[in-house]
Symmetry: C2
Subunit: 249 residues, 2 copies
Amino acid sequence: MKSMLITGANRGLGFGMIKAILNQPKENVPQIIVAACRKPDEANELQALAAENSNIRILQLESKDLDRYPAFTKEVADIVKDGGLDLLINNAGIGSRFHRIGMVKSDELIETFTVNTVGPIMLTKNILPLLKSAAEKNANAPQGAAKAKIVNISSILGSMQANTDGGHYSYRCSKAAVNAATVSMKVDLKGTGICAVCIHPGWVKTAMGGPKAPLEVDKACKRLVNTIMQISEEHNGGFYDLDGKKLAW
Amino acid sequence: MKSMLITGANRGLGFGMIKAILNQPKENVPQIIVAACRKPDEANELQALAAENSNIRILQLESKDLDRYPAFTKEVADIVKDGGLDLLINNAGIGSRFHRIGMVKSDELIETFTVNTVGPIMLTKNILPLLKSAAEKNANAPQGAAKAKIVNISSILGSMQANTDGGHYSYRCSKAAVNAATVSMKVDLKGTGICAVCIHPGWVKTAMGGPKAPLEVDKACKRLVNTIMQISEEHNGGFYDLDGKKLAW
């Protein structure tokens, strides 16, 4: 893989995935890692990592700032050049407080949907020409391999089948919706060699997951990256956990 | 059933369901049918039906006007009084043009989500005390019967399993999200006797469905109403077609 783009790269799973990617065998480490975050100036850990790894390129992106996506895409294009983009990880997202039906708020529903669903869909739309370029460059990839990949970081909370605890309307709706979009991406991109999947990263000790989460960031991200690297056409359009196990919608 | 509320009541499935409800055996026809629509002054067919059926009460509601929901709920409460509300049908919704990923628009994603997902969730939240009143009044209903019901009109396009055609991001996301919300409603309302289901009404010859749709409005609404009337605790939290057949998420 020559190039990848990940959003929400300054902390939590985004930062953890970059570290896990850098820790892979050298031949698997992308030559270009575009790391997008809301406030690069305040992303101290990411800046320090980029100072040590010249393949990391930091760009500014606020998911809600949908008008900036075309200009952002131009910046990514200027970095990856003719090679295009092999992997897009739509990781940026917001959580929401646990509310039962009596406390649900419309502003929170719309904001969470905008960041967690509209963001990944619109970034995918904008970045698509770069993914197509990479897929064409990778035309001779082994049979069944994904020639370029879209990974939407979703959540088991977006699964209807697994919803035994209720509440969480904002987050659940946004993740069920991004799962629905992932299946449409699979169908829409048929024949391009670009695969789209949604992945539940597990409940991880991030700012969103909180200290009670059972999974450590570094260990979870290692498993997550291992799964992402192995995505092939057989996974296309599916919903998986961090180890690649298929999840029910 | 003493009382019901249906949104989007002036045309299409909403109007059709009211007519089908009126055509039931007399003992099954609600004493109060609150029919909400965006522009009562322009709802000529509904006004004519209300002139002939004194149980129909027309109220104004625009789904996107979320700030009006509390005042609207007060108007419903003033009509149904102590009996509460036995049935809420969240029927109002908007369609969206078919777009593949390259043509998807963020404004359309957010507007469709607001009407088709946020609307039903926020109306349910507001109306909930009236549903609880009715459920308490119906405490002696037969074992397993729903004591009050929330019906979210969804769509097979919100099913990930059934998505073989792709595209349609705005509509699919909004309907997958309202399905997710329905399951949370089921869990959140455990023990109240209120059941929540989502129903795919079929592809019907309405303004949204278009003239190529295989189902006639009146026939589809008869089947739909028949299914709604039979909702019991065993259906709670599920996704069904117009004949009550369970659908995959």
